[in-house]
């Protein structure tokens, strides 16, 4: 098994006719993802990547029984696209789009919560269940199926660490990039809960970074978990008050520091890797303890 993305997942792509949308739809199809339709208002009735295109998510869902959506809509329309998907009854929404005004995301979240949907992102690489496919832009070839769940606020750092795990012979159940914005649809805790329930997952790697308190919340939750978690926090050398690329990666006053997050995780009994190269060994040790 896996979480969120499995053989029952039927994906539509909002913004399929754009450059990014069509490129990544093809990659998703290559990865074996069941992408069933695209949505671009004004292009209903056309086709893209060999898939039918609809004007609205409601029409696409009615025609294809889709249950997930991947959003490549530009920032000005992305929050509307999230609301459209949630309102149409799509339960898993993955928003890749970066640079969405944060109040737009906050508004979209009101609708996501109202409809009981799960939003991954925005400003995220999506998710991947090795052997099943991927929703988003992760490079599928670096993954390999296995027992480790993976959650990260970053994109390329995810690939870096996953590549290390795969090289070390450690496969993954599902890997999720939750996104680098200050307001994101789902948090570490949301996914830790799912991994805790997932039979395939035996351990979880959590890659956090400076800003906010998601990692601290995760540490609190991990205290109640049965499965082992290994963590890494980036941004130890980041100065306060500076936005480090991600809109959400900023130390405000004394909150959101790497040191604080490391301390919170360690207090919860989580081994925290000094550098990413330490992660595979920590995971192996965790899996060994588990068995």
């Amino acid at each position: 098994m896996s979480i969120l993305l499995d053989e029952h997942t039927r994906v539509i792509v909002q913004g399929i006719t754009g450059r990014e949308g069509s490129y990544h739809t093809t990659r998703m199809l290559e990865a074996g993802t069941k992408v069933v339709a695209g949505v671009t208002p004004g292009k209903g009735g056309q086709s893209a990547c060999g898939l039918p295109v609809f004007d609205t998510v409601a029409e696409a869902k009615a025609a294809t029984d889709a249950n997930a959506s991947c959003i490549f809509v530009p920032p000005a329309g992305a929050a509307d696209a999230i609301m459209e998907a949630a309102s149409a009854g799509i339960k898993l929404i993955v928003c890749i789009t970066e640079f969405i005004p944060v109040l737009d995301t906050a508004r979209a979240m009101l609708v996501v919560r109202e409809h009981g949907a799960t939003l991954i992102g925005p400003n995220c690489p999506g998710l991947c269940t090795p052997g099943q496919g991927k929703i988003g832009i992760m490079p599928y070839q670096i993954f390999t199926p296995g027992p480790v769940g993976f959650i990260s606020r970053s994109g390329t750092l995810t690939y870096e660490v996953v590549a290390l795990l795969t090289e070390a012979g450690i496969g993954q159940s599902t890997c999720i990039g939750i996104g680098g914005d200050p307001i994101i649809g789902s948090t570490f805790v949301d996914h830790l809960k799912l991994f805790e329930q997932d039979p395939q997952t035996q351990a979880v790697v959590l890659c956090g970074e400076i800003g906010g308190s998601d990692e601290e919340d995760a540490a609190e939750f991990i205290k109640t978990m049965k499965k082992p978690v290994v963590a890494f926090i980036s941004g130890r050398t980041a100065p306060p008050g500076k936005r480090m690329g991600h809109a959400g990666a900023i130390i405000s006053g004394n909150t959101g520091t790497a040191q604080g997050k490391v301390a919170a995780l360690q207090a919860a009994g989580v081994p925290v890797a000094e550098t990413i190269f330490d992660i595979p060994d920590l995971v192996k040790a965790a899996l060994a303890r588990r068995v």
Binding site: A106, S154, T237, A247
Partner: protein
Amino acid sequence: MKIHEYQAKEILARYGIPIQPGRVAYTPEEAEAIARDLGGPVVIKAQVYVGGRGKAGGIQFGNTPEEARAAAARVLGMNIKGLTVQKVLVVSKLEIQEEYYLGIVLDRKTQAPVVMVSTAGGVDIEEVAATTPEKIIKQPIDLRWGLRPFEARNILARAGFPSAVIARGGSILTALARAFIESDANLAEINPLVLTRDGQVQAADAKIVLDDNALYRHRDYAAWEEPEEANPLEFEAHKEGLTYVKLNGNVGIIGNGAGLVMTTLDMVAACGGKPANFLDIGGGARAEVMAKALTFVARDPDVKGILVNIFGGITRGEEVARGVIMAQQQLPAGLPIVVRLSGTGAEEGRAMLKDAGLDWGKDMRDAAQKIVAAIQAKEKGQQA
């Protein structure tokens, strides 16, 4: 995006929030003229993008136009936390009876703007939060409604604001919330909100931080962006579309993806180096962007060597290599560069780099160790 007090007050005034009359002066003479126009005592306030300017002497008073001129002369050119004061706001002095705090900040946890108010105004609100948190009343705003007038009055009443301030303070707080939402702010605060001796309620100081991602729909505010930051390179980088943060070390760092770049910084530090900057070229960058990033980082005189760390996905290794080779001629001769390429097109890119005689690392740690060693070797050579 940070904006100045006078700009924040311009926004507040658009929403009907009372502010003191006044204007911005760039010279002592202008300050004197403004003080003469206003009549009566004035306050001269340094307009810089940092807090704590009062303690630094950036707020001074003048009872006459001549005193205003002298005060402005003292404040203009002053260095406050590394920033040079280039303009001052000259406003009529208020006869203050009471000071309050009104603020709205984007809260990650509630995923909404949160109103914070306190009768302990005029002081650092983070200090109030740390020492007497019970003096701050917080409440999230439902973005579907905005902050309704009755909610604003309820918050002020709960915080113990006096009845005389609740009606007008409520209108001001409602307007502040509208300004926050309609301007796409991340932070909007009035500190202090003052009750004057003659019973007026006014915003005596204001701070607004705007959401960079929403500036496309606020062209008038976007035009306020200024190269006044501590480091002018950051302003230029932003104009060039690069995500760049200046740091204190000497190792220039370029990578793709914020998390990866931050991790590269940490790795360089772990290897004994000191990062000079953060630069994220984003996803799918072409050779031209890579080249621009390299020449940009090299413009920082502190930079003694550059590490490029790319995990190829949408970004292709050949493009990265091509960009590095393109930039090479424009970079200072002998500046050490180490490139680490992985993922899509890494093989091809590495071959190109080898042909061009450039260093590369087999992984992030190896590359970090190499650039740190190269810089240390060079420095030793110079010392020798």
